[in-house]
Symmetry: C2
Subunit: 385 residues, 2 copies
């Protein structure tokens, strides 16, 4: 009866029941006029979420598909791109670029550190052949936030494209695409949109669109030119993931009703409360510049992270993510995204404290919880008014 899961992983995230139920209806056909109306609504709401007047495209794919779409649509073989590589998803930009025969130039950043905008600038100064900068809004593997606004200004100056993986960032903190001049932004459904996995999103600035027309890399399913043609006819190039789009409609309505400002304030509040708790517990927030989507916590050296996450899951139903790549076993990652209420992070923190204690590494749990709760109690008066 009490086997209940509390998902604190940075994707998938908890999905609201009304969003799930919106997709749990007999599948409508995707070429009927009613479906075009649905598409129009979704597309308008996606523009609100992306803070752009440009069209936003979606694919039935994981977020990685939209990353691939960005690369395949913008470039021609042998072109140089600067890849900010400070975690697993920076590495992924590089792997896609290499896979497509581009010449990625790597700007390696220590895991947990943010890229220095100046460093990007000097790389671009030194190598005028670089056509684009590929970066994450934040690195979900380390929790670090990169300075997207500054990077956008630099790229504009240099006439270089800025391609941002905002897969787990969109809707969590401000990334106003048009205002900042981000050229390409990609996102996924199982993050802040709080949908199940299976949809990815991409928007392309006017400046970058001219490259889409000229790019010679091969693409078919992810070809944005075909999607744009279909978009204009209020349809999609291929069969879309219909049930997920019905859920998307419900999720986007929630976003619109809630308002981006309020969402951002919620995530800022809960993530700061969590960081305060973590530090008061005597633990360390891993990234130098933490993002609001998740909190990455460095574990004491002697703790086996895999054993810890298993203990939390099996004993308390609390599912947190471990580390990826070189951080495997060294950190735990607790997301704030998705259908979570303000106090719910206390569950994750309580489980973490109990788990560490049981494994012989007691932390100052009550001090941590007190810090988090005091902060939520105080700031929540405005944010949840």
């Amino acid at each position: 009866m009490f086997r209940k899961w509390h998902l604190f992983t940075p994707g998938p995230v908890p999905v609201a029941p009304q969003v799930l139920l919106a997709g749990a209806v007999p599948t409508p056909h995707h070429r009927l006029p009613e479906f075009s109306a649905l598409l129009s609504e979704i597309r308008r709401d996606l523009q609100y979420l992306f803070q752009t007047r440009r069209p936003v495209f979606f694919f039935a794919s994981s977020g990685t598909g939209a990353m691939e779409a960005a690369v395949a649509n913008l470039f021609s073989p042998g072109e140089k791109v600067l890849v900010v590589r400070g975690g697993k998803f920076g590495e992924r930009w590089g792997e896609i670029a290499e896979g497509y025969g581009l010449l990625p130039v790597y700007l390696d950043v220590e895991w947990g550190k943010a890229v220095q905008a100046e460093e990007v600038k000097s790389r671009l100064d030194r190598d005028p052949e670089i056509r684009a900068v590929l970066v994450q809004a934040h690195e979900t593997s380390t929790g670090v936030k990169h300075p997207v606004e500054e990077l956008a200004a630099i790229c504009r100056d240099k006439n270089v494209l800025l391609v941002v993986d905002a897969i787990s960032a969109l809707g969590v903190y401000p990334l106003p695409m048009d205002e900042w001049g981000i050229d390409v932004m990609v996102a996924g459904s199982q993050k802040s949109l709080a949908l199940p996995p299976g949809l990815s999103f991409i928007a392309v600035s006017e400046r970058a669109w001219s490259r889409v027309e000229k790019a010679t890399l091969p693409r078919y399913y992810f070809d944005l030119r075909r999607e744009w043609k279909a978009y204009q006819k209020e349809t999609t190039a291929y069969t879309p993931a219909v049930s997920l789009l019905l859920s998307l409609q419900a999720a986007l309505r929630l976003v619109r009703e809630t308002g981006l400002e309020k969402l951002f304030a919620h995530y800022a509040l809960v993530s700061e409360a969590t960081r305060r708790a973590v530090r008061a517990m005597g633990l360390e927030v891993f990234p130098e510049v933490p993002c609001e989507a998740l909190t990455v916590i460095r574990l004491p050296e002697e703790v086996d992270g895999g054993k810890l996450t298993r203990l939390l899951r099996e004993r308390y139903g609390v599912v947190v993510a471990g580390g990826q790549g070189k951080l495997r076993g060294r950190v735990v990652r607790i997301t704030h995204m998705g259908h979570q209420s303000p106090l719910e992070v206390v569950l994750a923190l309580s489980a973490l404290g109990l788990g560490l204690s049981e494994m012989g590494f007691p932390v100052k749990m009550e001090e941590g919880l007190a810090q988090a709760l005091a902060f939520i109690g105080e700031r929540g008066k405005e944010v949840y008014a």
Copy 2:
């Protein structure tokens, strides 16, 4: 996105998604052979839950319907029953008895106190015309547990029926009907069974069944004789609440898989953790003998309970129950029943602490949480192993 409800009310309670989904199928017809198989399984599993070899009947009704069924099926006009009245549900026994023209004799107990078995015995000694004792396993309005096992022994001695409202008790702590000799036990779906409201249950001992045959009070929908005839033909007297029965099947499978012992251990653990937290916070557990189904907390005199519960709900999505009848505004009630995980009560306690603090009555929240978590951490090793 973050408007999420956490239901801590003593009915309805959180329902597991697989239980909800089990009922969300096209309605099968209730007179087909496949449905008889479903009924057989449900009935067998209800016997396990009631710890009885007697048939367990169900009605499409709230728990109050099964209370009425108990009265209407057991008695004849003008008969005397002893009603233990120490809260809103004790009062309800009296109202039903009066409504049906019985002569209820009231044993009034101070709200929050358990009835003394000796007191019941002396009332029965003094008045041999009393045919039955009507009592709650616990009073959900005050959280107090009555001594059912002792009462059963006394009633057996006196050849008086013991009728127990176990609406929010069944499956929470031991009430072995056959072993203790409870004559009638009633239950509801939206309590420990963790279903939506709409079903009630009743089982009648062999000894009490002879009264059912002789009782002359009018009854039709709740007539157990008709239900027993239908039961023997593997059907029901009237159209049952089919979707709820499909969910019931799923819930009972969970009960069986989990096992009553484990369920009891879970509720004992979580309720004790909560009481420890409440006391460490500087608050008072209201009932003298607390039950495991819910924790009733006395509020400081100056606190407006209605305002407090509204604050918790609107700010944090945490829904706790206020007081009923003469306890209105004076207590909050937090249930442990339903689809709740071990640490989830921490959400309710955190919200309660923050709410009281905001209303000008700070409590020692971190000490409370520390007590609860330490207890869950320690005992949980066995209970959730």
